[in-house]
């Protein structure tokens, strides 16, 4: 069979992804062969796995027929399960491989097929389909599978949706699919906006080239007409003196012109580069603001910042400098070629002969360089990481007295890094001089042959000198053009990454008929809400909950039970996979997101304060608030006193450049911020960090004032919060298992809630404190 060539042995020239292939899409002979295996039972679909049951790499086919599901290895059926006996199917994930398991109605578990993690996604789909066929209802593939006790490979392989090439992270650019041409085309379109500058730059480049080439020709004239004329050109001394003067004057003019042109050219192209990049950064920042939270969940801050700052700079460098170098160098090369061939074509051929050699040698070296530099970059990165880790963890190093070990470890890495750099040095030492030598050979050849022609009076001295000087001027641009391909590539990759973000759709977007909310009572209803950050792993399952206006609900549960997720959905940071959330009778998806967020206030675990003054932080969300209002809010949050104790009061800067506030102080500012906003709905995610009793009391009081009469959904940790809540909702693994007031729930000492209360340290401290 065709696919046997790919699996079933040592050779795997290219990793192949598993896919579900329907019977109709199979080539005739393959289909016939599979059908023979299945006998009378018509084949519906086939999936190929890369692992045999024994654990050897090999081809194992899962064949779905009308009545049975078969697993085939090496031409014979090794497992078969009647379809109507299947109750459920699940994929079990292990390190390095997975397996597809089905359960039959008699309670037996059958391991159908093993696969390497490359095929995980595919078999996940198979499990889902089998479940659907078995009539398993809304169950997903992971429902019954218990977590394996051993280590789990948490990483998901991201693959390019187009060609399947494995990417390093979700939003990476597929190097295979990226058409450099396309990207540069798009980039040039950005430049087109400033076409005047670009045209001016091009014109200046032309002038510059002329100004560059001019002197060579003038020198020829100088020699042939003034200094050492031959034959007919021999004229009176006076004329020659005059010619000398004239030519030198023109040379001077050209020099001046060159300076002026260069000045303006750099300015013009530099401005172009800066404008393009400023535009790009502007668009990027705007896009980043409108992207939904799931993008920020997927991406590291560092990577996003690299896009906005570094990648755009690479683009600017290219547009501002690279492009103009390209134009100037090309013009020079073309100009010189033309001049040389126009003068003496035989000599010209000789002069230009080394060029292809230089290009070939250059390419070869470039490839070598690339791998050496890759190694250098890697080693240097490792070294930097080591240094930064040690510095960050210095406390641990010192407390375990491991300084010597760290020094030894660093020494090793330093050695490797230095070796890599030395390799680069050696490569550079070989490359530069070799190329110079080759070019020199060309020049010498020209001296010899040309010299002979001059002696034989076939060529003037001036022309020979012109040849030599143009050759000198030629190799530089050629080199630069060779280097340009790399810069080109770098820029294209950077630009592609930037365009990637610009093109990203907002996942939570307002549709056209979205309404603005008016005055909101604050009644929130969740109807059958199911949601998972990855669709196949729901964090919330079928949640139905009603929060009345003005009611305070406390969400309780262990880490990972879904509390924070629930709250994120209410804020509409994500949309539910199934079910809906309704506010005052309107589905959240029908509401303008901005309108919704204006009416929700949040006090989160991490009270993030922006760089700015305390006043600006409290008024964030209501910048037009009057000073008196700000002070009132701060007083209600029990923050006023400590703020007034700061030298600059409410004008004190906070954040990186400002005063260091304690956790309790930050929390209270966060509370003040929410109080000032006066939202219809409040989300409260209580910090678990311990503060001293006095601060704790202070914060509790502040929270009480904040919560009064407001629809509140609190992720509660404090006993006092739980006691005050109108209702508590206990979540476990994404489902609501208990509901009621604190007293009601405590009546059942075996209940989940009572158990949690016993475990939570915060409670014990509070309980002990009375």
């Amino acid at each position: 069979m065709p696919s046997d060539k790919l699996f079933g042995g040592r050779r795997e020239p290219e990793p192949v992804l598993a896919v579900i292939r329907l019977a109709d899409s199979l080539p005739a002979d393959e289909r016939a062969a599979i059908q023979r295996l299945a006998g009378a039972d018509p084949v519906e679909a086939v999936v190929e796995s890369d692992l045999l049951a024994s654990g050897q790499y090999g081809l194992c086919r899962l064949v779905l027929c009308a009545r049975e599901v078969l697993a085939e290895e090496q031409g014979s059926v090794v497992r078969r399960v009647p379809r109507d006996a299947i109750e459920s199917a699940a994929c079990r994930d292990f390190v390095g491989n997975g397996l597809l398991e089905v359960r039959t109605r008699d309670g037996t578990r059958h391991e159908l097929v093993r696969y390497s993690r490359r095929a995980s996604e595919c078999f996940q789909e198979v499990a889902e389909r089998l479940n659907a066929l078995a009539g398993g209802g809304e169950q997903d593939g992971q429902e019954e599978a218990p977590r394996p006790p051993g280590p789990r490979e948490a990483k998901v392989t991201y693959r390019c949706p187009n060609c399947g090439y494995p990417l390093s992270h979700a939003s990476d650019v597929c190097p295979k699919c990226t058409s450099t041409r396309q990207v540069m085309g798009r980039l040039l379109r950005l430049v087109r906006e400033h076409w005047r500058l670009a045209v001016l730059g091009a014109l200046l480049a032309v002038f510059f080239t002329v100004a560059n080439l001019g002197p060579g020709y003038l020198v020829k004239q100088l020699i042939d007409r003034a200094l050492k004329p031959e034959g007919d050109a021999l004229a009176a001394m006076a004329t020659r003196r005059w010619r000398l003067l004239a030519i030198v004057a023109v040379l001077f003019a050209l020099l001046a012109a060159r300076m002026v042109t260069a000045h303006f050219r750099i300015r013009v192209m530099g401005t172009l580069g800066e404008r393009v990049v400023a535009n790009l950064r502007r668009q990027l920042y705007r896009t980043l603001q409108r992207l939904s939270l799931s993008y920020y969940d997927r991406e590291h801050t560092g990577r996003i910042m690299a896009r906005v700052l570094t990648d755009t700079r690479m683009v600017q460098r290219f547009v501002g400098q690279g492009l103009q170098n390209l134009v100037v160098d090309s013009l020079m090369v073309v100009g010189i070629c033309v001049m040389l061939f126009a003068m003496e074509w035989r000599l010209a051929t000789l002069a230009l002969l080394p060029i292809p050699v230089v290009v070939v040698v250059g390419r070869k070296f470039a490839r070598q360089f690339r791998s050496i530099f890759r190694s250098v970059r890697r080693k240097f990165a490792m070294l930097s990481t080591t240094v930064s880790e040690t510095i960050t963890g210095m406390r641990v190093v010192k407390s375990f007295a491991q300084e010597d070990r760290e020094i030894d470890g660093f020494e090793e890495q330093l050695q490797e890094c230095t070796d890599a750099h030395l390799a680069a040095v050696r490569a550079r030492a070989r490359f530069g001089p070799t190329v110079t030598f080759l070019m020199g050979v060309g020049t010498i050849a020209v001296w010899y042959v040309g010299g002979g022609e001059v002696l034989g009076r076939e060529l003037t001295l001036g022309t020979l000198i012109l040849f030599i000087s143009y050759m000198q001027q030629f190799y530089g641009p050629v080199q630069q053009l060779l280097n340009l391909t790399e810069a080109f590539q770098e820029c294209a990759t950077a630009a592609e990454r930037v365009f990637n973000i610009l093109d990203m759709p907002s996942e939570v977007a307002d549709h056209d008929a979205a309404v603005e909310l008016g005055r909101v009572q604050g009644r929130v209803e969740l109807e059958g809400v199911t949601f998972g950050y990855e669709e196949t792993e729901p964090v919330l399952r079928d949640i139905t909950l009603t929060v009345r206006a003005g009611e305070m609900i406390g969400l309780v549960g262990e880490t990972g039970s879904g509390k924070s997720t629930l709250v994120s959905l209410i804020c509409r940071f994500y949309d539910p996979n199934k079910g809906r959330i309704v506010l005052d009778g309107t589905d959240l998806r029908d509401v303008r997101t901005r309108s919704l967020r204006e009416r929700i206030g949040m006090v989160l675990q991490d009270s993030f304060l922006f760089a700015g003054t305390i006043k600006e932080n409290i008024a964030y969300g209501r910048p037009e608030a009057a000073e008196l209002e700000i002070i009132r809010a701060a007083r209600a949050a029990n923050a006023h006193d400590f703020i007034m104790n700061l030298p600059d009061g409410y004008d004190s800067p906070v954040g990186e450049r400002g005063v260091m506030l304690s956790g309790g102080e930050k929390q209270r500012i966060s509370i003040a911020r929410a109080i000032l906003k006066d939202p219809a709905i409040l989300i409260l995610d209580e910090a678990t960090s311990a503060v001293d009793t006095a601060t704790e009391a202070s914060i509790q009081e502040a929270l009480e004032r904040l919560v009064k009469g407001r629809t509140t959904i609190a992720i509660a940790h404090r006993l006092s919060t739980l006691r005050h809540a109108d209702r508590l909702v206990v979540l476990e693994r994404g489902q609501i298992i208990e509901q009621g007031t604190h007293d009601e729930l405590m009546k059942d000492p075996e209940g989940r809630y009572a158990g949690l209360v016993r475990i939570q340290a915060t409670f014990s401290v509070e309980a002990a404190a009375g």
Binding site: T613, D641, M644, P647, G649, R657, G658, R705
Partner: protein, 164 residues
């Protein structure tokens, strides 16, 4: 810690006087409270407004919304106290700014006289408030204000420009 209720002191209800003993007192509805401290809530952006008055124990007696609304004598007394409470001379000219080993020494003229001071951590301690205004904090915590740097003499502008 007081709640929100009537912490605002109405200007007509109160008078501030300095007694011969040197104390400043707040006279309100017949009662005299000795004033321990007078603090501006927004010393940099709204000086003279939203001023908190504390007693000698540090408890807040109340807040005055706007000083100009008080009577002349009260205004004078409070201005004196506030000037001590938040002292920030105005820089009128800069003679020299020199940097050596991370410490920047400024030689300036202020509305309080000539002064030389040292600044560290230039990023943290030279604060721009808006486009023209700058507040500088020296190594000891003293503050200096440049109300509009573009109105300074040309040399001063050139010197300060490097630190913006």
């Amino acid at each position: 810690m007081s709640a929100n209720d009537d912490f605002v002191i109405e200007p007509q209800d109160v008078r501030f006087r300095r007694r011969p003993t040197g104390h400043v007192v707040m006279v309100r509805g017949g009662t005299e409270h000795v004033v321990g401290a007078v603090l501006s809530a927004f010393p940099l952006t709204r000086a003279g407004h939203m001023v908190a008055v504390r007693d000698e124990a540090g408890e807040e007696l109340g807040m005055i919304e706007s000083l100009p609304a008080l009577d002349a004598e009260s205004r004078r007394v409070l201005a004196e106290v506030l000037e001590r409470s938040y002292f920030m001379p105005l820089v009128t000219d800069i003679h020299d700014i020199r940097e050596e080993l991370n410490v920047v020494t400024w030689e300036v003229e202020t509305d309080r006289g000539a002064r030389t001071f040292e600044v560290r951590h230039v990023l943290h301690n030279i604060r721009r408030m808006g486009r023209r205004r700058i507040v500088i904090k020296d190594v000891d915590g003293n503050r200096y204000e440049v109300r509009d740097w573009l109105r300074l003499p040309p040399l001063a502008q050139r010197l300060i420009h490097n630190y913006l």
